[in-house]
């Protein structure tokens, strides 16, 4: 009562004093979210627009002025929980909402760096995140801010007070489910994926009423599993046993752990799906739909409109969750509603986003061993059959192969950016391979369900990471920036002809978007594995990024993990601006 009263008093003081009470308390509308890619005064959605282009129309910062970009403040996430910080900040009316490792959410004053509130989710002891205790961001809609937690819950909080409005269990963390992706909000529905692909879970896309948290529809990603709509069974995903033997579809993986994007022009959700489980592909002959795919989903009812499978019958952990970024492909005098995806398997795919037909697929890393090419007629890979790890049969271990890319992917979770100004994609890639072999495995609830052993090896002595500018018309790489450590952070591009991304060495860097020349860098004190954003405030252009080394590389990186083991951990939000002249 005491605290409530005080908050009420402060709120009314603000209302009277500043005259911005209505907009402030009400928060962004659906139209505001849809307009996020164009509006420059805020960053309302993960991806800086539902299409996920991560492009800002701002031009104050350019390759010349960026030299004057300076830090304004840095905010510490506090505590002893300094693990990977993979978040993208959300910016709205002078407030930054940012998530931290271990399911924490902060509201920070964008001008001063002063904390307004903090929510620390109390996690149970038994959570099973496979790949570090990260969170990739929050979602803002009306008066609430939402984020997913490592114990597979979705939490809605009042954006002004940080008080929990509702908290819904989305899956059973004791069966290996968790959640790390930023939610997506479309027409009042909050849409989420799930994590837990290494525990034999079932990938799922779910829509809830953003106001109440009540479930509206569920769409499992693995064929044979039943979807729901308004509390009743709706339709089965795919056709039972069409591409999965026996009852393996019940533990078939396909986790949607990176969330999705939305294209308002075709009114379609795009969700990538993870690798099939277990890794040992000899146990599950068939294409294993819809693992390692992009699903186009109707946001109204959760029905699948089309799918495109990048790695049918995956045997290398070529998880297909990578984001599909909608863009206009201008080719041969035509404008095609296209979507692009830089897949973990090493190919850069351009699809017709109205029907999922393949337009082009080209390598964006130097070495791909598992397939010769993608057949543009059939849309399917032409496999190198001898590069599939062998079946263990009765032995303890099947034939080991050296395959590239490594299972951590030619590109992992870190989102790429697309500039309509340069008509180029900026892809954070890694050059690595792996020794991989299969082992016998059976499913056990809550236990890792891999059936494989593996170790990652760098391909080159001098670099692993490579930020590459890819021309979607030709598939050609226009420029590249090589980085010694693997790249693990998201990319941002601007109409000011700049590309921003972070490095594990601690730098936030800026590049000339046309030439790839490095034009600015700043060391944040720990590895940068988050996604930078930019916006305009009081006539000045700001840039923000989280700093804090972690993620899957130090946990799963084999030889590479050794290389990065001396990078110090951290947990902070850095804000920069270009001061007025």
């Amino acid at each position: 009562m005491k605290r409530l009263f005080r908050t009420g008093l402060l709120a009314s003081a603000m209302a009277v004093g500043l005259g911005l009470s209505v907009a402030n308390a009400a928060g962004p509308t659906n139209d505001d979210l849809l307009n996020d890619a164009k509006s420059t005064g805020d960053v309302l959605t993960y991806g800086m627009g539902h299409q996920g282009q991560r492009f800002s129309p701002l031009t104050a910062l350019n390759p010349d002025t960026v030299k004057k970009l300076v830090p304004v403040w840095s905010f510490s996430f506090g505590g002893e929980k300094q693990r990977g910080q993979e978040s993208q900040p959300i910016v709205h009316e002078g407030m930054i909402y940012v998530t931290g490792s271990y399911s924490r959410l902060y509201a920070v004053d964008a001008k001063t760096g002063e904390k307004k509130w903090q929510y620390d989710h109390r996690l149970p002891e038994g959570i099973m995140p496979c790949c570090d205790v990260v969170n990739r961001g929050a979602a803002l809609y009306k008066d609430k801010i939402y984020f997913s937690t490592l114990d597979a819950r979705l939490v809605a909080l009042n954006k002004d007070t940080g008080k929990v409005v509702w908290s819904k269990k989305t899956a059973d963390y004791q069966a290996g489910y968790s959640a790390t992706a930023a939610p997506l909000i479309v027409d009042g529905k909050i849409i989420t994926g799930n994590s837990g692909g290494e525990f034999g879970v079932i990938g799922m896309v779910e829509a809830r009423d953003a106001e109440t948290g009540e479930l509206i529809w569920q769409r499992p990603t693995i064929e044979g599993n039943m979807g729901t709509l308004n509390g009743k069974e709706s339709t089965m995903t795919g056709k039972l046993n069409a591409s999965w033997p026996g009852d393996l579809y019940k533990t078939g993986g396909g986790a949607t752990w990176l969330g999705g994007t939305y294209d308002p022009e075709t009114k379609t959700l795009f969700f990538g799906t993870g690798n099939p489980a277990p890794w040992n592909s000899h146990l599950r002959p068939g294409d294993n739909l819809y693992s390692s795919s992009t699903l186009a989903i109707n946001p109204e009812n959760g029905e699948i409109k089309w799918h495109y499978q990048t790695t049918p019958h995956d045997g290398w952990d070529f998880d297909g969750v990578n984001e599909l970024v909608a863009f206009d492909l201008k080719k041969d005098g035509q404008t095609i509603k296209a979507g692009a995806k830089a897949d973990r398997n090493g190919f850069f795919y351009v699809l017709d986003r109205t029907n999922g037909k393949l337009i082009n697929a080209s390598p964006f890393v130097s070495k791909i061993t598992w397939a010769k090419e993608i057949d543009l007629k059939t849309g399917r890979p032409v496999y190198n059959d001898d590069n599939r790890p062998g079946s263990p049969e009765a032995a303890e271990k099947g034939k080991s192969v050296f395959a590239a890319p490594a299972f951590l992917g030619a590109k992992n979770w870190m989102p790429m950016a697309y500039s309509p100004a340069t008509e180029l994609f900026y892809v954070p890639a890694n050059e690595w391979g792996m020794d991989i072999w299969n082992e016998p495995i059976t499913y056990k609830k809550g236990a890792a369900y891999l059936g494989a052993g593996f170790t990652i090896k760098p391909l080159y002595d001098d670099y692993i990471g490579a930020l590459r500018a890819v021309d979607p018309k030709t598939g050609k790489i226009v420029w590249e920036y090589k980085n010694k450590a693997p790249l693990w952070g998201g990319v941002l591009t601007t109409a000011g002809n700049l590309v921003f991304t972070g490095t594990p060495e601690g730098y936030l860097k800026a590049f000339d978007a046309k030439s790839g020349q490095e034009v600015w860098k700043f060391n944040t004190g720990s590895g940068v594995v988050g996604s930078p954003v930019t916006w305009e405030q009081d006539g000045e252009q700001y840039v923000a990024v989280v700093s804090g080394w972690g993620g899957a590389v130090p946990l799963w990186g084999g030889d590479v993990a050794k290389m990065v083991k001396d990078i110090n951990q951290g947990g902070s939000l850095w804000v920069f601006k270009l001061p007025k002249a």
Binding site: K2, D120, P124, E125, G126, D151, V164, S167
Partner: protein, 269 residues
């Protein structure tokens, strides 16, 4: 704790400023001589009238054996109708223990609290005329009750049991036919003072009878013991065979339980 209390006090003082100054000089003296009383009085009651009243009794041990679970019961039934009760521990990092609204219940409550050091433990009861009647006593303690980690965490599966309720209700007794009900909610009740463990506690509880009528409502706060126990005397409708307990914690966790009432001859026509 200090900055928060201070901020609140400043705001309260700013609000109440002129009125306080104009108030008659007969502000009663705290019989327990607490150094915190002036701050708490302004913070909790503003300019509302208060009286120290022996009809409000607090039962608690003179010396707390276990500072993480000190049994406390407060009884304001000698006042007649009471709209709200507040339990206060002056010298705890968070002084307010709970607020109790005995909607259809006796103004009597028993529970267990944490104490950080020797402190006055008070009950304030608001009668319909707006006057707060305050009684209390000093509980001596070795201290540390608010900063000791909960025993809950010794069990790796504690999270599976959060929100579970154990309860018992007794048959109505006395002239006013109140039923005693006692319930325990499994919850670590983390107050945020232990390093690395965020605040996480039950913030609301409500008891209803079979007709859906609210009998009692509690706003619960940091000083309550882990797995808190409450004893209330409620007046359910004559035909009620069970009570419903609902509540939620600061992280949106929901509590729901049905508590059976003992069968009584002739209760149901």
């Amino acid at each position: 704790m200090t900055p928060r209390l201070l901020a609140t006090a400043v705001i309260a003082a700013a609000l109440a400023g002129p009125a306080l100054a104009a108030e008659p000089a007969q502000e009663p003296l705290d019989p327990l001589g607490s150094v915190m009383w002036d701050v708490l009085r302004a913070d909790l009651f503003g300019k509302a009238p208060i009286v120290f009243d022996e009809r409000v009794t607090v039962s608690a041990p003179d010396n707390a054996e276990n500072a993480t679970a000190v049994p406390v019961s407060a009884d304001a039934s000698a006042l007649g109708v009471v709209e709200e009760m507040v339990l206060i521990t002056d010298l705890n990092p968070f002084p307010v223990v709970l607020r109790y609204h005995p909607v259809a219940a006796k103004p009597v409550i028993g529970t267990r609290i944490r104490v950080q050091q020797a402190t006055p433990v008070r009950a304030a009861a608001r009668t319909p005329d707006g006057v707060w009647h305050i009684g209390g006593k000093v509980v001596d303690a070795a201290g540390g009750g608010c900063t000791a980690p909960p025993v809950t965490y010794a069990a790796p599966d504690w999270a599976d049991h959060v929100g579970e309720v154990q309860a018992r209700a007794w048959a109505p007794t006395g002239e006013d036919k109140t039923s005693r009900v006692r319930f325990r909610v499994r919850h670590p009740m983390d107050n945020g003072l232990i390093a690395g463990i965020p605040a996480y506690f039950i913030e609301k509880l409500s008891l209803r009878d079979a007709d859906g009528k609210e009998l009692a409502r509690l706003e619960t706060l940091e000083p309550l013991s882990e797995n808190p126990v409450f004893t209330l005397d409620v007046k359910p409708g004559a035909s009620s065979r069970a009570l419903t307990l609902t509540g939620r914690d600061t992280q949106g966790g929901e509590i729901e339980a049905v508590i059976s009432l003992p069968w009584v001859q002739g209760a149901v026509q």
